[in-house]
Amino acid sequence: MSVLIFIDTTDGHVKKATLEALSYGSKIAAQMGTVAEGVVLGNVQDDLASLGKYGVTKIHQVTADALSQPDAQVYCKVLAEVATAIGATVIVFSNNLNGKAIAPRLSARLKAGLVSGAVALPDTSNGFVVKKNVFSGKAFANISVTTAVKIISLNPNAYQVIAGEGTATVAAFATSVSAGAIKVTSSSKASGDVPLTEAEVVVSAGRGMKGPENWGMVEDLAKVLHAATACSRPVADAHWRPHHEHVGQTGIAIAPNLYIAIGISGAIQHLAGVNRSKVIVVINKDPEAPFFKAADYGIVGDAFDIVPKFTAAVKKIKGIA
């Protein structure tokens, strides 16, 4: 019996969402009176042993040529081998892109019940029940997992990173898995940008910005806040902003600490994707805009006037010249 946590990396670095998953998985292990261990696929630049401070005692590292391609089919086979070898009864993923690709496969392979998009620790007082987002953020469901092995994929920003003391031992895990069928031929990444689902702060703008040429002030505000930028659906549909910035019921669902909505009316489909944000700030010139009902703070006024002042005020408070 143990808890196994998938350590997701990007360009050799451990993702922030993984630190959340490690903290969460270690807490579950403590709750169940067992140990938490990690598994990482491929070579990593970060110091793996130091991940012990998030509560894992041991990290299984698998390096094999077959893992050079990001292929969920191959990853799943290897993770199943590790999980079986150590007798894991709970397996934790972050519900990010890799989690979404691998966890369902592993669930079907191990016949292990999956809760995807978990937002809280399991309730083990009577069975094993995990709370997850449903109806695109409009409700929660408590899912009871009845299988011996359980898989949870934790929503980003749903559980805080808890760092303590400790180092983990790192052990190589040998696999004989063969290469998969998928070959990645190219990839492109906007370097330096904060990934939207991991961002603590998100600055989002809608049709109220009138046109793509006015996004400079939105980006300036995002920059001083180290925020990711997002937009409403019509803005992405009109190609003012890239598709991957579209948040809402039919876009990306996010739950940052702070969500700043500029010139967005707050339609129900938009709110569905962002209403799990901890603090919501709305800037809209229409006092009747429905977004104000879902907001914590608001300013009724013209974005073109307020956003630059907002940026200046943040600079002042952060002591940026």
Binding site: K132, N142, I143, H246, G251, N275, A295, V300
Partner: protein
């Protein structure tokens, strides 16, 4: 080429979300049902586009649902597709549904299985991956572009902060999201034609679900907005810094 497109019925995006039976069941009273937008706008329309390019393509739709899903399937058939299969079962968990779809896929010998990125009600994002594992096929998730040439698929998919292009030979399972295609409105000819397209109903295979819904909850209501004067943006930033501790 034979494509299987997974179709799910979901409440309309403006539906009031409420629960009955001591918060264990979704309250369907007065709810309008739609085709899950990801299934409709992206998987189905992209499959139709592939058939427009290569008319020898065959498109089958599959849904796992009771008879009340029939209007939704007819609506999907009005957009396109040659026939539909409904596995006659009340919805259980994702694994149960994926197992039924995998069974249909095995019988039909499809080259390609398309699912939406997720359903807008359960938000599981898991059917595609489970079906792929049950069929022992490669799976490309969260695709934003899909091209096919001979037997090789070239798929653009989302990665954190960007995208990558992956290649794989058919057969293949792909989950589809924004970018794949554009929403279409069914025309009169499609709606008339859909009435006579085959809608086969088959009974489910015996599968034990791995999870069950113990209950639902609604999120706590917001306390109410604190409005700050437009002339006093500094005050907003002070509140965010000192009170909300969000900056």
């Amino acid at each position: 080429m034979k494509i299987l497109v997974c179709i799910s019925k979901t409440p309309d995006t403006t539906a009031k979300i409420a629960f009955t039976d001591n918060n264990t069941k979704f309250d369907a009273n007065g709810v309008q049902w739609i085709i899950n937008p990801y299934d409709e706008w992206y998987s189905l329309v992209r499959a139709i586009e592939l058939k427009e390019t290569d008319p020898s393509t065959v498109i089958h739709l599959v849904t796992v649902a009771a008879a009340d899903a029939d209007p939704i399937i007819r609506k999907a058939l009005a957009l396109g597709g040659d026939e539909a299969i409904r596995v006659n079962a009340d919805s259980h968990d994702s694994f149960y549904i994926a197992s039924q779809i995998a069974e249909v896929a095995k019988q039909g010998g499809y080259d390609l299985v398309f699912t939406g990125k997720e359903t807008i009600d359960y938000n599981g994002s898991s059917i595609g991956g489970m079906v792929a594992e049950l069929l022992d096929l490669p799976y490309i998730s969260l695709a934003t572009k899909f091209e096919i040439s001979a037997n090789k698929a070239t798929v653009t998919r989302e990665i954190e902060g960007g995208e990558e292009v992956a290649e794989a030979n058919l057969p293949l399972v792909v989950s589809c999201q924004k970018g794949m295609a554009e929403q279409r409105i069914p025309n009169m000819k499609g709606i008339m034609g859909a009435r006579t397209k085959p809608l086969k109903v088959q009974e489910p295979v015996a599968v034990d679900p791995l999870t069950a819904v113990a209950g639902f909850e609604l999120p706590p209501a917001k306390a109410g907005v604190k409005l700050v004067d437009a002339e006093n943006v500094d005050e907003l930033v002070r509140l965010l810094h000192e009170e909300a501790k969000a900056i």
